[in-house]
């Protein structure tokens, strides 16, 4: 098979090394968490992707997972979905330890989950309507007109028109793909929604629209939402809770507390300021041929 997971001899002790945690940074999972990781290790191929991760995600809240490339953000979501199994450790999702479950036993756990993939993962041979209706057709005994009404309601909720249901995935814009993927993830009203890089490849306006959509869905349906993101500004606007994955440790807590962390890496990750180097580069671009910041602003407006 494609990936192989094997026990690692390279187990690390829990990870508050180097820098002191701030007062409200959490390092573990609590009983109230909807999802809890206890000393989870994951290896993909020969590479250790997640080392001794212990964290928790509060119920009914929006948690954003931040971290550099290759820090294991998407892997964390795939672990929760049971798409990959941990090498060791305990992973509790909605009260069930899924770390050693067979695919058949994962079915009732997955019924509580909805996942929005980075590229949408929509079936490209069927239209938007059939993509969203698929879980209802497969797992419920709803009649076709009930399914139609449910799907149309969901399309409206994510800001799409009913006529968009007739389009094929290849006919959609990037923002529309994300919306359809979100609609498919929430159509069965799961307890937990996992969103992998929902803002990647989107312009700032569409990013804000998707952000508002998350907020609205979280508020209306009370779903626990886990969002993997690179976008610090969006993260700070959206998150009730943050998990930051770094090579040697992970930190979690409320965003306003983590912003004041003494760890420069955390500050950097959460920084929305423009770097000095970037300003210099910007000036160079502005004086030479090509586009400058003004051009970009006019493009967005």
């Amino acid at each position: 098979m494609r990936w192989r997971f094997r026990a690692s001899s390279d187990m690390f002790p829990n990870t508050m090394t180097g820098v002191e945690a701030t007062k409200n940074e959490r390092t573990g999972a609590s009983d109230e968490d909807h999802i809890a990781f206890h000393n989870v290790n994951v290896e993909l191929g020969e590479r250790m992707v997640i080392r001794n991760l212990t964290c928790g995600f509060p119920k009914g809240r929006i948690t954003v997972i931040l971290g550099g490339s290759g820090s294991g953000k998407s892997t964390t979501l795939r672990l929760i979905g049971g798409l990959i199994a941990p090498l060791s450790g305990k992973l509790v999702v909605a009260g069930t330890n899924i770390s050693k479950l067979s695919p058949r036993k994962l079915v009732p756990v997955r019924a509580k989950l909805g996942m929005m993939f980075q590229g949408g993962a929509l079936l490209d041979s069927t239209n938007v309507f059939d993509n969203i209706a698929l879980p209802l057709r497969e797992h419920t005994r709803m009649k076709e007109d009930e399914i139609r009404s449910e799907v149309n309601q969901c399309l409206t909720r994510v800001g799409l028109k009913q006529s968009d249901g007739l389009l094929l995935p290849r006919e959609l814009s990037g923002g529309m793909v994300k919306r359809v993927a979100l609609a498919r993830a929430i159509i069965t009203k799961p307890e937990i929604v996992l969103c992998d890089e929902p803002f990647s490849g989107l312009d700032p306006i569409t990013t804000k629209r998707i952000e508002l959509l998350f907020k609205q869905i979280n508020k209306e349906l009370g779903m626990t939402m886990l969002i993997v993101s690179h976008d610090a500004a969006a993260t700070l606007r959206l998150a009730d809770h943050l998990l930051i994955l770094m090579p040697d440790r992970s930190v979690q807590g409320p965003p306003d507390e983590l912003v004041n962390s003494s760890d420069p890496r955390i500050k950097n990750l959460l920084s929305t300021d423009v770097d000095e180097d970037f300003v210099k580069l910007d000036k160079i671009l502005d004086t030479n041929a090509g586009f400058g910041p003004g051009d970009l602003e006019s493009t967005w407006s």
């Binding site: 098979m1 494609r2 798409l83 997955r110 996942m115 993939f117 929509l122 079936l123 879980p135």
Partner: protein, 259 residues
């Protein structure tokens, strides 16, 4: 040097047995899911159209061309011995016993088998199969079974078409161009062919080749690496492995069936 060679041989043997085990488990899962409801009729019909109807022209033209070549070669050979009236038997045996099922299967591997692998492989690369798993939908049931069943069913049907058109091609050359007696062509062919051995044997081969093509092409698709290079490698592997398996199976069936 010798130790390394033994080491490599051992590793290759283990890999071979591992993949044999994996494909057997996959085959079991496909059969299990085929027998389990729901029967996805709409998807199956779509696959029959894609793999069968859209392959009609390539199979038809190839059948006709092969029949014409066999007719021409056969006539040139038989006329030396004054046995040109046996052309129907020559063309019939060549096509029904060997060339019909084997060439149809090879053409279908290149046309529909590789397309099936590429399609499923692309679904793997774009996380569509993971998306299904997250919705607790078994990808084998929804994606693999309709495609595998479609390939399995169209192989004997297309083999029948190939055989008929190849016999017609041989007739066209023998009777139409070379002046062989039409009664002798058809009469000798009818007399020489034994239905339970020859014609049924032809379809037994076609069914077995259909099994091989559907199993290999879907397995390679599902297990391909999730990137464009992986899809390309899986497609190539399907064509190479399915073609070799068809040729080896052809020999085994011929030996066992007693043609």
């Amino acid at each position: 040097m010798v130790l390394r060679a033994i080491d490599n041989l051992g590793a290759a043997t283990i890999r071979f047995i591992e993949s044999l085990g994996a494909i057997s488990l996959f085959g079991g899962a496909v059969i299990g899911n085929t027998l389990r409801p729901p029967l996805r009729t709409r998807m199956l019909i779509k696959e029959l159209y894609k793999q069968g109807v859209q392959s009609l022209s390539i199979i038809g033209i190839s059948g006709l061309a092969v029949g014409m070549v066999i007719g021409l070669q056969g006539y040139n050979t038989l006329v030396r011995y004054g046995s040109e009236n046996q052309l129907g038997v020559f063309v019939g045996f060549s096509i029904v016993l060997e060339l019909g099922p084997v060439l149809t299967a090879l053409l279908l591997t290149g046309r529909a088998g590789s397309a099936t692998t590429a399609e499923i492989g692309t679904m793997v690369a774009t996380e569509q199969l993971d998306g299904l798993r997250m919705m607790s939908i078994n990808p084998v049931n929804l994606v693999v079974v309709p495609r595998a069943l479609g390939l399995f069913l169209v192989t004997p049907l297309l083999t029948a078409l190939f055989v008929v058109l190849a016999l017609f091609g041989g007739y066209l050359i023998g009777v139409g161009m070379m002046g062989v007696d039409p009664g002798a062509y058809m009469g000798n062919l009818q007399e020489a062919m034994d239905f339970p051995t020859d014609v049924v044997g032809c379809f037994v081969k076609a069914f077995i080749f259909g099994c091989l093509i559907s199993l290999i092409s879907t397995f390679r698709g599902v297990t391909c690496a999730p990137n464009s290079a992986g899809v390309s490698a899986a497609t190539t592997a399907t064509v190479v492995q399915a073609s070799l398996c068809i040729l080896i199976a052809d020999y085994i069936i011929t030996a066992l069936w007693g043609f």
